[in-house]
């Protein structure tokens, strides 16, 4: 069309000032001490928090795996429904997502707490009370609950492209349930799986609200550490920036992993 490159100018300026410059400042803070001298101490200090980093990665990975297992059948069943029904069901999956995640997590607080509803119901049958809130299990539950729709939707999208006749052909050729799953459904939904993993893992590994509300004080995650350095009691921008930098690298690694996985497998299939 016409030459209107200059129309992008305001955005380019904005992007340089408020997207790129802030990230450069993070790198600068991560590599300097409070006096502004170059140092690698911040990055070294992170070693002391390796348990927190390990916990974040493990809890996020567990939550992602659970989401994948739970969401896979949902995606498949949804994709086999009639189109008009699919639309409504898709809305039903998205609806909780539209509610503020603080409120959703808060709902779980009242369900899980010691005098909470679940313990009371279990008490009626003579069980419990169980220690449910302030455990790492509660944090995983919160992650699964909050991010499950992010796994269902890409899986569903990927699976709508799987023709039912492909599944039927596999059946006709004598494949059982397990074979259909491992040889047809999973390979064909790999793009959805990859997207779903990123969309669940990235927010789960960087959260600080879920761990604070459901994990009590004993289940600190990377997000909590970073928040403490910037707005909490620890108050160390340099260390916080170094942690952010490490978190960014983790996320980038995760994303390059899922996207490469995605392409390789697609080549194998197509």
């Amino acid at each position: 069309m016409v030459q209107k490159k200059s129309l992008a100018a305001p955005y380019l300026v904005w992007m340089a000032a408020f997207i790129i410059a802030p990230l450069i400042i993070v790198v600068y803070f991560a590599l300097t001490d409070s006096a502004g001298n170059f140092t690698l101490d911040n990055l070294m200090t992170i070693g002391r928090y390796s348990t927190v980093f390990a916990r974040s990665l493990i809890l996020a990975a567990v939550a992602t795996a659970i989401c994948l297992v739970l969401a896979f059948p949902v995606g498949y069943f949804l994709s086999r429904l009639r189109t008009s029904k699919q639309h409504i069901m898709q809305m039903l999956v998205m609806l909780p997502m539209w509610m503020n995640f603080l409120l959703r997590t808060y709902a779980w607080m009242s369900l899980l707490e010691k005098n909470g509803i679940i313990n009371r119901i279990l008490g009626l049958v003579g069980l419990g009370p169980f220690e449910m809130i302030n455990t790492s299990g509660a944090v995983v539950l919160g992650m699964v609950y909050n991010y499950l729709p992010y796994m269902i939707l890409p899986l569903y999208t990927a699976m709508t492209k799987i023709d039912q006749s492909v599944v039927e052909a596999a059946q006709d050729l004598g494949a059982g349930m397990g074979k259909i799953l491992t040889r047809v459904l999973i390979p064909l939904s790999v793009p959805g799986i990859a997207t779903g993993i990123t969309m669940v893992f990235v927010p789960a590994v960087s959260t600080f609200i879920i761990s604070r509300m459901l994990g009590g004080g004993s289940n600190l995650l990377i997000g909590d550490l970073i928040e403490l350095q910037f707005l909490g009691n620890s108050y160390n921008y340099n260390l916080g920036s170094a942690m952010s930098l490490v978190l960014m690298v983790i996320v980038l690694l995760c994303m390059s992993f899922t996207s490469s996985f995605d392409e390789e497998d697609m080549e194998g299939v197509v």
Binding site: A8, W14, P22, L23, I25, I88, L92, L102, G116, S206
Partner: protein, 282 residues
């Protein structure tokens, strides 16, 4: 017989998953009508929490601020983003790819990093302003920008990429010949743009505007790091959850859920009506 079992199993599984998604929300809604403050024993029906919610000035102020920020930031983002999309579309392949990749940064980065990095920028600015004012011997540069300005900047920053990625595909589908025809018929480029290109882009621009509003109203993490002393609605909700007592928060959840449900049903209804109309037209 086997088929039947399979169907029943399938339905049972779906019921289970959807109850997992909806039971917490339902529980909150039920307890918003609870007479006592208990979060687990239902003692009697009341609407008091709804009444006190609407006299809670903290919540109402926060809501007003959230709506204002959402509207302003969505408006600016939509204008800047649409302009950017048009500009980028007329660039070469290489610079287009570079800008698109950079625009993905705020989308793929964890929100906490976007929040922290903007906070650092604003802190750095504060240092710069102090230095500049001291140098000039007068308070010419505003120093304390934490609050409305920082919130707006943050919200616009994470919104604009969504506008670009919404409008750009539409722009690629556009028929250049229409635009050229307008020029041939005597429009100048500006007229041709507003009379031919804009109407075509309008649905994409509108949906981008709505996406910006929803992301802005819902955002907690980035606002949390850039708000200063101001409270948007999610931040007010957060401070309420810290206090752990007020059933007003249940009432608020229920209202928000119903509003969202109404919006979704309404848009769904409009969509299906439009679909039927298009079908009739053939």
């Amino acid at each position: 017989m086997k088929q039947k079992h399979w169907r029943a199993l399938q339905q049972a599984y779906m019921v289970l998953i959807f109850s997992f998604l909806y039971v917490p929300i339902a529980v909150m809604a039920v307890f918003s009508f609870n007479e006592s403050k208990s979060r687990s024993v239902f003692t009697g029906f009341t609407l008091n929490w709804y009444k006190s919610l609407f006299t809670n000035s903290m919540i109402l102020d926060a809501l007003a601020l959230s709506v204002a920020i959402a509207l302003i930031s969505a408006l600016i983002s939509t204008v800047v983003g649409t302009m950017a999309a048009v500009g980028i579309s007329s660039m070469g392949r290489k610079s287009r790819l570079l800008i698109n990749n950079l625009s993905y940064l705020p989308i793929v980065n964890p929100e906490i990093i976007t929040g922290v990095s903007l906070m650092l920028l604003f802190v750095a600015y504060r240092g710069f302003a102090a230095w500049a004012n001291a140098h000039m011997g007068a308070d010419l540069v505003p120093q304390n920008i934490f609050g409305l300005p920082t919130l707006l900047i943050a919200h616009i920053s994470f919104s604009v990429p969504y506008v670009i990625f919404n409008v750009s595909p539409k722009l690629r589908q556009l028929d250049v010949r229409m635009y050229e025809a307008a020029l041939d018929l005597g429009c100048n480029p500006t007229q041709a743009f507003f009379k031919v290109v804009m109407p075509e882009l309008m649905p994409a621009i509108l949906s981008a505007f709505l996406i910006c509003i929803t992301y802005s109203i819902d955002d907690f993490i980035i606002s949390y790091f850039t708000c200063g002393n101001l409270q948007t609605l999610p931040i007010a909700i957060y401070s309420m959850t810290r206090k752990k007592v007020s059933p007003e928060i249940n009432a608020l959840s229920t209202i928000i859920f119903l509003v969202i449900l109404a919006i979704i049903l309404f848009t769904n209804h409009m969509d299906s009506r439009k679909y039927r109309r298009d079908q009739q037209r053939g």
